[in-house]
């Protein structure tokens, strides 16, 4: 259908490119205030960006994001028993709510979750009695009087240290982690199991979901994503490769295999093909900030579900329906298995997800308008307003339209994040991080 260039909410002005990460970005996550933005990459590194406070001296550098800290989170490992490599790629990062001056985050690869503490040091003691400025021991005969060391300001130093390592909890590949609203526990999910951890205890975890069949030959469904409810610490949801969502209540049983609610949309018989199941597989699930809805992404659509209605989603948005006739080719080149993420804006009124050709899509739930934008250096100059893009599928073709056959399927926007309160979005395009800000409306309606 016709894509309209958006109203106020989707006039996005491009800020300067926040950073070039050396390796392919594999996850992006704002912290709870939006002051910090963490990215993880394929090489196991984490890069944290910090938003500069708005300054009157430089009005056009309103709150830009600069590199705050970079550290190596995970290293490649070799599993000698299975004779297989364990990739160092960071699958997910989740921030802990800030409880003191330090920031903490969880980062995970396929097998091991780590808790990192990020602290700032901007003062250092000077005037030791026994050591000189370089740290060498003084000749005691030269010491004639005692002094009290004083704290003097120094250049800001950001220190990162691993506080906990949660290892050996997963046989299969971890696809998600989620911090509980109780701020004491978190869960990690792999293809077949979900474990509950206490943030302070690393040698023990509780298995809360296990869908592994007795006979692996009977395996037909895996867990694809999971998340805790933002307010109810006993509720969590997990999605499956068959397109279903299961909302579980930890109060009901220790092992939550019997879901409280099963959310599943009946299959459309007119659209049935050999690829129906694959494209129904949910690649991401996110609770709304309000906790009333869930957002899911499958290969061709994003769907909004009401927690009180299990029979079908309340809203379905087509991300790139023109791919429906290309599914065989996309199966052949494996693109059909790409896992796109989705995101809510702060007020739950706009949802966003990535696509191919460095395109990303935004859907306004209230006005029902949607827009396609492109994350690339060539497509816009800094501070220019992003121009909406359009994919033409035959029929009338406008001048700047792109035909389906010209789409670059190697340029995929899998990871996107939305600032918790403001209209700032982070888009990962391969190894480039783009941060876009809406200058017109800084508060969403």
């Amino acid at each position: 259908g016709d894509l309209r260039s958006g109203g106020g909410s989707v006039d996005v002005c491009r800020e300067r490119l926040a950073g070039l990460v050396a390796d392919i970005i594999s996850t992006v996550e704002f912290n709870h205030t939006g002051e910090l933005l963490a990215t993880g990459d394929k090489g196991g590194r984490v890069v944290i960006f910090q938003r500069e406070p708005e300054s009157k001296n430089a009005p056009h550098s309103q709150g830009e994001y600069d590199v705050y800290s970079t550290f190596q989170s995970h290293e490649p490992e070799f599993d000698y028993l299975k004779s297989l490599e364990i990739e160092e790629k960071i699958n997910k990062i989740k921030w802990l709510p800030q409880q003191n001056a330090a920031h903490s985050l969880l980062s995970t690869n396929d097998k091991t979750i780590k808790l990192w503490k990020i602290t700032e040091r901007d003062k250092r003691p000077e005037g030791y009695n026994l050591k000189d400025e370089e740290g060498k021991l003084k000749d005691l005969s030269t010491v004639t009087s005692l002094q009290v060391p004083v704290l003097k300001p120094m250049d800001l130093m950001v220190e990162v240290s691993p506080r906990r390592i949660f290892a050996n909890g997963h046989t299969y590949h971890i696809n998600s982690i989620s911090v509980n609203s109780d701020c004491e526990t978190y869960m990690s999910a792999d293809d077949l199991r979900i474990n509950l951890w206490h943030l302070a205890i690393t040698d023990r975890s509780f298995n809360i979901v296990d869908i592994k069949p007795a006979n692996m030959e009977d395996l037909t469904e895996v867990i694809t994503a999971s998340e805790f409810h933002p307010h109810h610490c006993n509720l969590f949801v997990y999605s499956s490769s068959k397109g279903s969502l299961r909302l579980c209540d930890m109060r009901a049983a220790a092992l939550c295999d019997k879901h409280s609610k099963l959310f599943e949309e009946p299959e459309d018989p007119s659209n049935r093909s050999f690829f129906s199941e694959i494209i129904s597989s949910v690649s991401d699930v996110k609770f709304s900030h309000s906790g009333r809805y869930m957002l899911t992404r499958d290969y061709l659509t994003v769907k909004v579900w009401d927690l009180n209605m299990e029979a079908r989603p309340i809203e379905t948005y087509q991300v790139h329906d023109y791919l429906r006739s290309k599914l065989c080719s996309l199966y052949e080149n494996d693109c059909i298995f790409d896992k796109f993420e989705c995101a809510w804006n702060g007020s739950d009124s706009v949802i966003m997800t990535g696509a191919y050709n460095n395109f990303f899509r935004m859907f306004d739930r209230n006005t029902k308008r949607d827009v396609t934008l492109e994350a690339s250096r060539e497509s816009s100059k800094p501070r220019a307003v992003l121009k909406p893009r359009r994919v033409c599928v035959g029929g009338k073709r406008r001048r700047d339209d792109i035909s389906v056959d010209s789409l670059d399927f190697t340029k995929k926007i899998l990871h996107t994040a939305w600032h918790p309160a403001e209209n700032i979005i982070a888009i990962a395009a391969t190894n480039n991080l783009y941060i876009f800000q809406d200058k017109v409306n800084s508060d969403m309606h």
């Binding site: 070799f78 599993d79 000698y80 028993l81 299975k82 004779s83 297989l84 490599e85 364990i86 990739e87 396929d110 046989t171 299969y172 590949h173 696809n175 293809d191 077949l192 692996m216 030959e217 395996l219 037909t220 469904e221 895996v222 694809t224 490769s241 659209n271 049935r272 093909s273 050999f274 690829f275 199941e277 694959i278 597989s281 023109y322 429906r324 006739s325 290309k326 599914l327 065989c328 080719s329 996309l330 199966y331 052949e332 080149n333 494996d334 693109c335 298995f337 599928v393 035959g394 389906v404 056959d405 010209s406 789409l407 670059d408 399927f409 190697t410």
Partner: protein, 241 residues
């Protein structure tokens, strides 16, 4: 039951092609595509069995697709038993047959998009294929015969290949070290040869004709080799050289 736009039978077109070829073409074009999808899926399953720990979600989805095709073929009656010598055929033949199948069906046509994949100019499944010449018809018959042999072997090795795939994901008993390594050794060499042949060059796939789509990454062969180096190292440690 294929990609949208492909009808099982294209009745109107039968009038244009003469005699026995007509029946063969309309039914076999769908069967050919379905078979090539099956072959492609099996290749994918074998490939992900060989590399760094396979992506379980992907394997399960592909395996389910294979099951669906198998079920439909069973209902069709095209999934039938064959002579024992067919069962002896090495796995390598399965991979080769995909190539031959694709070349026979679409190689001559060049830029014609495969039926069911067109983005608007598809009139029907058969209209996109060139008129079948007698030479091609012979090849069609040959590959169809091969195709009929194929499924039987599939069925025999089907459960076995799923088994193999999911087994590697289980934690292995540490006392079965020899089994572990013997399992890994030979397939790497076979697969390497196959991958070099398949990934390189302009191989016309069953879904060819769509510009702008990236080909499958030819990465696997290099990571196989690096794994072999690690393997040597591990073996050295074990035998304490």
């Amino acid at each position: 039951m294929f990609a949208r736009g492909l009808k099982r039978k294209c009745v109107g077109h039968e009038e244009d092609v003469e005699g026995a070829l007509a029946g063969l073409k309309t039914v076999s074009s769908y069967s050919l595509q379905r078979q090539s999808l099956l072959d492609m899926s099996l290749v994918k399953l074998q490939l992900c069995h060989m590399l760094v720990e396979p992506n379980l979600c992907r394997s399960v989805l592909i395996a389910n697709t294979v099951r669906q095709i198998q079920e439909e073929m069973t209902q069709d009656g095209t999934w039938r038993a064959v002579a024992p010598q067919a069962a002896e055929r090495a796995p390598l033949d399965r991979l080769v047959s995909t190539e031959i199948l694709c070349r026979a069906a679409w190689g001559q046509e060049g830029a014609h998009p495969a039926p069911g994949l067109g983005d608007g100019h598809t009139q029907g499944p058969v209209s996109d294929l060139c008129p079948v010449t007698s030479a091609q018809a012979a090849r069609h018959l040959q590959s169809s015969a091969w195709e009929m042999d194929g499924p039987r072997e599939n069925r025999g090795s089907f459960h076995k290949s799923l088994d193999q795939i999911f087994e590697t994901l289980e934690t292995k008993n540490p006392s079965c070290m020899e089994e572990l390594f013997s399992d890994v050794d030979s397939p790497y060499y076979d697969l390497d040869t196959v991958l070099t042949g398949m990934m390189g060059g302009a191989r016309p796939g069953p879904c060819e004709g769509l510009e702008g789509l990236a080909p499958a990454t030819p990465g696997p062969s290099s990571s196989c080799k690096s794994d072999l180096g690690e393997l040597d190292h591990v073996v050295e440690i074990l035998v304490e050289t």
